[in-house]
Symmetry: C2
Subunit: 195 residues, 2 copies
Amino acid sequence: MSHPPAKPTLRADAQQNVTKILDAAVACLSRNADASVSEIAKTAGVGRVTLYGHFPSRQALVDAALTRAIADGEHVLQALDLTGDPREALDALIKSSWLLVAQATAVLEAAQATLAPGRVQELHAGPAQRVDDLIRRGQADGAFRADLPANWLTSVLHHVIHGAAIDVAKGRLESTDAARFISQTILAAYSKAGA
Amino acid sequence: MSHPPAKPTLRADAQQNVTKILDAAVACLSRNADASVSEIAKTAGVGRVTLYGHFPSRQALVDAALTRAIADGEHVLQALDLTGDPREALDALIKSSWLLVAQATAVLEAAQATLAPGRVQELHAGPAQRVDDLIRRGQADGAFRADLPANWLTSVLHHVIHGAAIDVAKGRLESTDAARFISQTILAAYSKAGA
DNA sequence: CTCAACTCGAACAGCACTGTTCGGGTTATG
DNA sequence: CATAACCCGAACAGTGCTGTTCGAGTTGAG
């Protein structure tokens, strides 16, 4: 344990810079899909050369940023109990982590432009499956409508969350309202037609 | 009338090329927001120099493409009767023109990156107002829920349509299903909670 | 204190895109 | 058919980004 094998020398200072860079990368890429490396470095308060010292290419940086954004989202998802009423579970999911989901989705969109499509799918698979399972269970329980396919419902959820994030960024929506609006819209959209 | 003032010489051949270029520009820009001029020219089957002969800059081209995409959308909207039951009117609107709306929205998104924000707002205002009016009327009639603001409902509509277009483009959704899915989703999302 | 690890600005080559010019070829129109 | 309008490829300068090198300064760890 006290001997991390393949890392002969990594100063405490350096690793701290790496996280600063990743923070900046996630922030910039979720705002602007094709943010330049200079812009990310400046946002991180770091020289461009230093950045290239930690990530060999822009692709590698985007990959790392996406990995971290998705890991953050997955971490929040794992802390939630999704076993109760699908409606309540979905409501809790939205209210606790819509912002993280929106950020991860935005970075994912940025990554889609520059990363191999298989790699994107690979990283995104985990958390996406978790949400998909919840929706399918809701359909099987009769809590959600079954006249539309589950992957369409998940797609709607993603796009509504993404849209809300854009609206907040553009000042068209108060961030304090966002979670409530999303939840009420999605639950209505998922409810059975006859109900 | 037989003397168009400021256009001393415009050959019939040339104007035809202009429309080919605009077609290509709309197609390319709705697929990829930052498509190059070369790519658009090649898609139009036209030399890059010819393109610059008709549009002085990339900005002007994007502006013209957006103007035409929105004009197309507005043309379809004007042909619709939106005075009946708001639910049926919205359903008809989606089924007749969701693809055009999606295309216009995509081009608009591309334009947002390169055009002045005021100009975008200016072009988009017309058709957007028309949809907004329909939704507000539906709320006043009691056909649509009123516990969420109208501009949020319009935002949801746009983002769901946009998302459906992306899903179709990526092969995750059959284009024959799209209109029905959008309509059923939106109508449920707009319905009153207690109903 | 000392040294290696780290940081940083300046500057370079390579690349892609924009916008322009030149010269020769095509074609509609009168 | 003759001319003016138009089309087009090649090639140029200018710009911004990527990825790299160099040399000098700063700082953490032993």
